[in-house]
């Protein structure tokens, strides 16, 4: 468990829309090759978290690291620290404290600057790095090539590839599958154009290469080449979702964020898509962040699960562990609401309701995300932490 490589690290991610705190101080790691499930009711910020990670929104505060690169950075926390320090400065403070505060302001300013640069230049830096790598690769190849014709071809190819590499963005290593397969495909493009669009934007001009790649992807997701010339409306829901998946994997991403990929699909098709995602994960070594509200599917599919409630991550654990020891009252309420295809259980089922006002008293002691068991985190305060630990020990 410990030697797992962290692929994506989210630190204190905040995403505010005006006064609405859609995501509020969420931190988690996603390890390479795992499926990380994110559950919660609609409006709890799970989709926003996913979208913030691929920079559809500019985040308010916090950072997201992908393969060690900081790809998102927000500045609100620094700004607030500076503001607080300035406010204190205006009052009566000792010289010692003054120096301290001034240092805080200066430090935070530097941090803010860094964050801005990272936010802006993450892609550029990555592009440069990639271009350099590709150039080195081709230089070697060209030097070794003996046939002049071959050499010319290689030079031409290398130019193309370097250009593409320069344009490449680190964020494209993370791809997204959207909930609604109908709305997410452009009705005026053929399947080939839709799937190949990513490559075109990246600067690939070689039509043959693109075509071949598209056919490859179609094959991977279980469609046939003759589908390439058709338009999205000619496909069934499940096939459309396959097109969406093909589009997301053509960039050879390391990670996929699947935002409720099966909610809009028919029952008989859902299993097909789940099985496909499972195969892809094995075949391509994908890491998947799986956002859904259907807990039976999340349980089946994910290695670890994070539970969100109103912008906060309230519980995070291995999926088995989470279902064995649900600790946070919201998780309990969520688990008690899962419909199970068994009339006897359903008729006797007791649903636990969650009322934050009743459950918690955070007037004195503020809660944070704490580790109750190894790898099992719960959002709680001191008193609750004690209670949860006792509960786990007693079981």
């Amino acid at each position: 468990m410990d030697n797992k490589e962290v692929l994506l690290r989210v630190e204190h991610l905040c995403q505010y829309f005006g006064p609405t705190k859609a995501v509020d101080d969420v931190s988690f790691d996603i390890y390479k090759g795992e499926v990380f499930g994110l559950v919660g009711e609609s409006g709890c910020g799970k989709t926003t978290t996913g979208r913030s990670i691929i920079r559809i929104y500019d985040i308010t505060s916090g950072s997201v690291y992908f393969k060690g690169h900081r790809i998102c950075a927000g500045t609100l926390s620094y700004r607030e620290a500076i503001k607080a320090a300035r406010k204190e400065l205006r009052g009566n403070v000792t010289a010692e404290r003054r120096a301290e505060l001034e240092k805080i302001i200066a430090d935070n300013k530097v941090e803010m600057e860094k964050a801005n640069i990272d936010q802006k230049n993450a892609d550029k830096e990555y592009g440069k790095q990639r271009a350099e790598e590709v150039r080195r690769q081709y230089e070697e190849l060209i030097a070794n090539a003996s046939d002049p014709e071959e050499k010319e071809r290689l030079i031409k190819e290398s130019k193309d590839r370097i250009k593409a590499a320069k344009r490449s963005k680190i964020v494209t290593q993370i791809q997204m599958i959207f909930q609604d397969p109908i709305a997410s495909l452009n009705p005026r493009m053929t399947v080939k154009e839709i799937i190949g669009e990513g490559l075109v934007i990246q600067g690939y001009t070689d039509k043959e290469y693109i075509e071949q790649k598209v056919y490859e992807m179609l094959d991977v997701v279980g469609l046939v080449p003759e589908h390439a010339g058709r338009y999205p409306h000619e496909f069934s829901g499940g096939q459309r979702q396959r097109i969406g998946i093909a589009r997301s994997i053509i960039m050879n991403p390391e990670m996929i964020i699947a935002d409720e990929p099966i909610s809009a699909l028919d029952v008989s098709i859902r299993a097909q898509v789940i099985n496909l995602l499972n195969d892809l994960r094995e075949k391509m070594g994908l890491t998947i962040m799986f956002i859904a509200h259907d807990l039976s599917v999340v349980k089946y599919f994910s290695d670890r699960i994070g539970v969100m409630y109103y912008g906060k991550l309230v519980e995070l654990a291995d999926s088995e562990e989470l279902f064995r020891h649900p600790l946070h009252p919201y998780t309990n309420s969520l688990l008690s609401a899962i419909p199970i295809p068994d009339p006897a259980t359903e008729k006797t089922r007791v649903r636990i309701t969650y009322n934050p006002l009743e459950e918690h008293d955070y007037s004195v002691d503020q809660p944070t995300l704490r580790e109750i068991l190894p790898g099992h985190f719960v959002y709680c305060n001191d008193e609750e932490e004690k209670r949860y630990k006792e509960k786990v020990a007693n079981e």
Binding site: S263, Y300, T345
Partner: protein, 722 residues
């Protein structure tokens, strides 16, 4: 078994499309019982939504109802005109649609959208109830007079009296209820406020106070407030003082002063005391007031008053009225019985008549006399209408018309088809490309149409024979029933919903379906709501009309689990409270397990398996049901899911044999050649698969399901032991 409320029989629906006739529903039949839930399970395109739309009479314009009947309350819904359908739709049968976006008006605020139906239906409902009340009382009166011709004038007088005081009594009750519901609302508001206050939650107080004052003022029924007038005045004054203080303190609108808290607590106590008082029996008091109009009855002790009024009512009116009713009922029953006997004979004759060669004109004449005879067998004082007899006229006329239409139409169609085909082939022979298709023949089998006519007659005859064999009912008990029924109608007839009340109900419904801050939300537009919230609004609208049958077309598919569970519980609660019958359409088997009493699994326009919920879950027989069950993981699933390969068949060219054969790994040769009939497994459990044929090889269902069923059974016994 409970009473049948809706019967769907041999329903066949298809759609005309540019590429041919799409057979959406292919001969399905099911019954819906009062107070039960029937779940229809299947994937999209299986015809489940089409069926529900047919029940509501909202099929698309290009639909063709080829065959079948949907019987409800003595009517065939498929043959009703739009105006009659209008009074049923929404009022008696309501629907929660799948897509909340398309069922809300984007440019009207949420509030009016919820209350609109309430207000309109209330108006129409009042009118209809009054009409029903009058007509039923009229029929009862005529029958009473026929039974006792000597007392004719007296009976006339009594009916008038009954009419008068029944309506009067309900007006009294209505006013009392209004005050009561206002009091309950206010009490709830106060409790909520104090609870939130104790949790130190900020609330906007100013608006709340004026609202509470308004509600307090609305408690004004003399029965309800009698004896509490001074207390009420005191509370109002306390509120007004508190309100005055708030005007002075404008800074913080959520600030709560002690005056207000005191006023609220005081009011809360008063409301408790008021709601604890004995409820007057208005039906009795209505009569009492009619005979003693001068007496001031508010001051009486309630129990005493109830007793006294009962005595007066019984002695002076009710006993006599009931005995006359009983006689009237017997009279009507005897008449109908005689009519039935005659009708049975006539129907027997008609069956042979319609089986032979018939001509249009004489057949129509014949039908006319036959209909008269059948209708003379209807007992109009029966509260539960016999759908077969009531719909006989429209069914028979419809069947005859259809037959003669196709007698004329079939040769025409044949001719047209041949002409077009010849033209097309000629063009092709010339080597031209033809970009049009020959429109398929619209031809129906005449023998089948004719047998439909005979079947209409036979159904009613069998029904009548059953009824005549039954012993005569207890007319005294039935007299009480019919008086109750009339009272019920009278109460609907006077029940007026004002805009303010509708708003209160709407806000309550919004709270009930889980919309936070309903007061603020009431004045917002649909686009300001998230998907889940919108669906809740739609559910609130459907429930607002208080329907008898609720059709839920995937109501929770767009919602997440906690809300889904809340809404399903809400629907179940309402079902129990209002004895609602529900048709629940979904593809989520977990939801089905929670909701359904009976399940019908649909595939490609047909019901492939049907049974009680336990039977379908613990002993599924059709391969498609197996596939559905094994394609979704539950909490204990570890192994690879068994996906159903392929997609559903194209229903323009439905497969010859079993429609599922192509995707079915258990398919046998016969599945591709011949459609399997329904095999009965138990009395309630049926499935259409050749695997159930005695000659079929023994096939085990997939391991993933057997294991799951074992797990469930183990859990079940564990639950029983522990």
């Amino acid at each position: 078994m409970a009473e049948k409320i809706l019967e769907v029989k041999n329903l066949k629906i298809s759609f005309r499309t540019s590429s041919g006739t799409l057979k959406a529903v292919r001969d399905i039949s099911f019954d819906l019982y009062r107070g039960r839930t029937l779940a229809i399970v299947g994937e999209s395109g299986s015809g489940k939504s089409v069926t529900s739309k047919a029940i509501l009479g909202i099929l698309a314009g290009n639909s063709i109802i080829e065959n079948g009947e949907i019987l409800y309350d003595g009517m065939d819904l498929l043959k009703l005109d739009e105006e009659t359908m209008h009074t049923i739709r929404g009022d008696k049968i309501s629907m929660i649609f799948q897509d909340p976006l398309s069922s809300l008006n984007p440019i009207v605020k949420i509030g009016p959208q919820i209350t609109e139906a309430m207000l309109l239906k209330n108006k129409a409902g009042r009118k209809n109830a009054r009409k029903d009340f009058n007509s039923l009382l009229g029929v009862l009166k005529t029958n009473m007079q026929e039974a006792c011709p000597s007392d004719s004038a007296h009976i006339e007088e009594m009916a008038k009296t009954f009419d008068n005081f029944c309506i009067e009594a309900n007006k009294l009750e209505d006013s009392y209820n209004r005050s009561d519901s206002n009091a309950q609302d206010l009490k709830e508001d106060i409790t909520n406020f104090l609870y939130m206050h104790s949790k130190k939650q900020k609330q906007s107080v100013k608006q709340l106070v004026s609202e509470q004052i308004k509600k307090l003022r609305n408690i004004k029924d003399s029965f309800y407030t009698h004896g509490f007038e001074t207390d009420l005045e005191k509370c109002l004054n306390a509120y007004n003082t508190a309100k005055g203080n708030y005007k002075a303190d404008k800074k913080d609108p959520s600030f709560v002063n002690d005056d207000l808290l005191a006023a609220m607590e005081e009011t809360g106590k008063l409301l408790d005391r008021m709601s604890e008082q004995v409820r007057p029996n208005f039906f009795r008091i209505g009569y009492y007031r009619m005979v003693n109009p001068e007496e001031d009855i508010y001051g009486y002790d309630r129990n005493e008053l109830n007793e006294k009024a009962l005595q007066v009512l019984d002695d002076r009116f009710m006993k006599e009225f009931l005995s006359y009713s009983s006689k009237g009922l017997r009279n009507s029953y005897d008449k109908a019985e005689a009519g039935k006997k005659e009708a049975i004979a006539a129907l027997r004759e008609a069956e042979t008549y319609f089986s032979s060669e018939i001509e249009q004109k004489p057949a129509e004449e014949y039908a006319k006399t036959l209909i008269e005879k059948v209708e003379s067998g209807i007992d109009y004082l029966e509260v539960n209408k016999d759908s077969y007899a009531y719909t006989f006229k429209s069914s028979l006329n419809g069947a005859i018309d259809k037959y003669f239409f196709y007698v004329e139409n079939n040769p025409k169609e044949e001719e047209r088809f041949e002409k077009q085909t010849a033209k097309r082939e000629a063009l092709i022979a010339k080597g031209k490309t033809v970009d049009w298709k020959v429109v398929p023949k619209n031809i129906l089998d005449l023998d089948e149409l004719k047998s439909n006519i005979v079947k209409v007659c036979r159904d009613v005859r069998v029904r009548y024979e059953d009824q005549t064999e039954q012993a005569a009912p207890d007319f005294d008990a039935k007299a009480v029933d019919i008086v109750d029924y009339l009272r019920d109608k009278a109460s609907t007839a006077v029940y007026v919903i004002t805009k303010e009340m509708a708003k209160q109900t709407a806000i309550k419904l919004m709270t009930e379906v889980g919309i936070p801050e309903p007061r603020m939300r009431y004045n917002q537009y649909p686009f300001e709501f998230s998907g889940g919230m919108r669906q809740r609004i739609v559910i609130a609208i459907a429930l607002a009309a208080n329907p008898e049958i609720l059709i839920c077309d995937e109501p929770t598919t767009a919602l997440d689990v906690t809300i889904q569970a809340q809404i399903l519980e809400l629907i179940n609660k309402l079902k129990a409270e209002r004895n609602l019958s529900i048709i629940f359409i979904t593809h989520d088997l977990g939801v089905v397990a929670q909701m359904a009493d009976e399940i019908a699994v649909m595939y490609a326009g047909q019901i492939v398996e049907q049974g009680l919920s336990e039977e379908v879950f613990y002993d599924p027989r059709h391969p498609y049901t197996w596939a559905l069950l094994s394609s979704m993981p539950d909490l204990d699933t570890k192994e690879k899911l068994e996906a159903i390969p392929g997609t559903p068949p194209n229903m323009i060219y439905p497969p010859v044999g079993d429609a599922f054969a192509d995707r079915n790994k258990y398919a046998m040769e016969i599945d591709f050649e011949q459609q399997p009939p329904m095999f009965d497994i138990t009395e309630t459990h049926r499935a259409a698969t050749w695997l159930l044929h005695p000659d079929a090889p023994k096939v085990e269902m997939p391991k993933i399901i057997t294991e799951r069923i074992e797990r469930m059974k183990a859990k079940l016994t564990e639950g029983q032991n522990g």
